[in-house]
Symmetry: C2
Subunit: 381 residues, 2 copies
DNA sequence: TTGAAAGCGCTAACAC
DNA sequence: GTGTTAGCGCTTTCAA
């Protein structure tokens, strides 16, 4: 049983194929009578359309490709979910690609997406420099926006949160909660957010006069297992930091686990923070204090940029949304500065308003500036 | 800068477009000399191909659509990951669709995928009967395989695990661990696996002579929050079951949380089991005893079926893979039947070999039967 | 082995 | 407002 084509619908409705196309797409005016006949014919024949043919003709596919280092990492899972939902509102569909932290796999996906004529690409590159060539090549052919992480030396759109601000939120909070020394557990990966988080940690501990040591900077990968191992080493070593700052929630959950195994009390003996606010951060024991990223906003901005960027070249937008600190029980209570009531501590997550937004450089590309919640700026004027 | 076409490559290489096509695709013989010239020309021009044009001509897109009730549910996330990887090995790409538990959204996705001429559809339908029309319509046009769940009244391929067997594994284990009464917490959703798990629970408790009550069958949704609420109600009520069997791990994690909140010891006061073996099942305190599904195998079979099913009509394969019981600390230790050493209890997950495979009806479609790990069978002879 | 040419199904000019 | 027609870029007969 062959697929129904527009020609068959046209024959049945007694009109030309062009008219059927116009009636069905609604792009151009068609008389009510004819529209009725076409709709009827299409319905009777079970006409379903052929997006491929349409795409070839219009040179638009209404598809977007998304490439993430690991679908299974809960942070990227939510990002994918948010992007899928945002795209659905626009009638676009999502090609999902998992680069498995492998630059070569990633490059293959990008080539493949380009060949498929996707209208745009959303990528969280797996490597800060290794991903550059493939990302640049793709961006040369197709609107591309980087999410969360971005590679060195490219000038594509980017949207995410400001990791420096996040680390300030985290360390200010820890300091206020009494921590005077801190360790940092992260990944060896050399991507932008990993590096910015470490840099932020160094700057903020220094600013606040908090002690740290080389042996307290532990780099492995973004996994529960690594967090557990690293914390195990830390707890076995001499001296304990007041706080362990983790570059993502998976690591932090591993750290909590290690503390439990070693009989170290959190937050009494050591405070622990994560990053991303994945679903399970609320569920651990104790609940994990962490940095919340506005994933829906990030996704929405990315999708909007792709739609906008279609024609425009030349200027890249950098949109840094405000992170929030989500305070739970893995950090010590902060003495209230004023007479404000403490609320119900430890019950639900208490999001603490984050920060202003960082404006990078240059001037806004679009004149329509939104609600002050973020700013976009171009890196080339 | 316009995209490079095959015609430009042809001109540069001094050959016809047909020859370029043959050289690049490798489908037909081309002289070594010409192949070299074509490759060179393509490289110099940065030819990237146009999958859309190719797809229109060949009427194959090398794409597969996947529709799941919720991307964010960790079980489906892993399934998506497994499918993505399996597809990548075949050079196909994945359209990911989230139906958000909504039959109308799901139907829209299926229509859209059909219009996009995907080569196959993999779906975990969100409703046992409500999804039927859309699934049937899609299956009439495109090879379709249902994963995990399946809808009533259709005759498409299906692959998953046998929920009845899973419940037998769970209840045998609980019984051996001393449980003589059990509650069941699940979802109100009327899809096949939800219903089969409940039916299995009923049958097995009856078979083992374990007590249960209407008030101990609690139906809500697949979420941590529901598990927590349901268990809260249960723990507040009169009498406590020896065990709480949950229809998925999210619910079970919520139950564990409620037990902790209510000071109920697991497994001493009540044993708890989950279903799916999501990543976080290993991480809870105590670790969750649960049913493991061979997700990679499920995905691989689904992808294989789509590839096979291309031409074949008429007979549908039902592939039920063996579930495994993953024993952790949320259930009581089972007294060893023989002199076998206990191993290191509670350390790593201890998968217990599951069960034989259920053969539904009819006879195998493919003659090539694999390693006895599963059986496929056709429901129509 | 290679080239010429006919379309895949649709939409956008261009006429009327 | 509607029909005619020319492709979108590729693959695949059919001849040579």
């Amino acid at each position: 049983m062959h697929r129904v084509t527009i020609a068959q619908v046209a024959a049945r409705a007694g009109v030309s194929t062009a008219t059927v196309s116009r009636a069905l797409s609604g792009n151009r005016p068609v008389s009510a009578e004819i529209r009725r006949r076409v709709d009827a014919a299409a319905g009777e024949l079970g006409y379903a359309g052929n997006t491929i043919a349409s795409a070839l003709r219009r040179s638009r596919t209404d598809t977007v490709g998304m490439v993430v280092p690991s679908i299974r990492n809960p942070f990227f899972t939510s990002l994918v979910e948010s992007v899928e939902h945002a795209l659905q509102d626009q009638g676009k569909q999502l090609f999902l690609c998992d680069s498995r932290q492998d630059v070569a796999v990633e490059a293959g996906h990008l080539r493949s997406l380009a060949a498929r004529q996707v209208d745009g690409i959303i990528i969280s590159p797996c490597h800060g420099t290794g991903s550059t060539p493939a990302v640049e090549a793709a961006a040369a052919a197709i609107p591309l926006v980087q999410l969360d992480r971005h590679v060195a030396g490219t000038n594509t759109d980017w949207v995410g949160v400001d990791d420096g601000v996040s680390m300030r939120l985290v360390l200010d909070h820890l300091h206020a909660a009494g921590a005077r020394s801190a360790a940092f557990i992260s990944s060896t990966l050399t991507n932008s957010s990993t590096e910015l988080r470490l840099a932020g940690f160094r700057r903020q501990t220094e600013r606040l006069g908090m002690r740290t040591r080389d042996a307290w900077i532990l780099l492995g990968d973004y996994s529960v297992e690594w967090g557990r191992r690293a914390a195990g080493d830390l707890l076995a070593g001499p001296g304990l930091p007041d706080a362990i700052v983790c570059a993502d929630d998976l690591i932090a959950l591993g750290v909590l686990r290690a503390c439990r195994d070693h009989g170290v009390a959190v937050p009494a003996d050591v405070q622990v923070t994560g990053y991303d606010d994945i679903d399970f951060a609320a569920l651990s024991e104790p609940g994990l204090t962490t940095v919340g990223q506005p994933r829906d906003r990030i996704a929405a901005e990315a999708v909007r940029l792709l739609a906008t960027a279609a024609g425009t070249g030349a200027t890249a937008a950098h949109i840094a949304l405000a992170p929030t600190l989500v305070v739970r029980e893995s950090t010590a209570p902060v003495p209230p500065p004023g007479p404000a009531p403490a609320g119900t501590p430890g019950a639900a997550a208490a999001p603490v308003a984050g920060s202003e937004v960082r404006i990078r450089t240059g001037q806004p590309r679009s004149s329509r500036s939104e609600a002050g919640a973020h700013q976009e700026s171009s890196s080339r004027p």
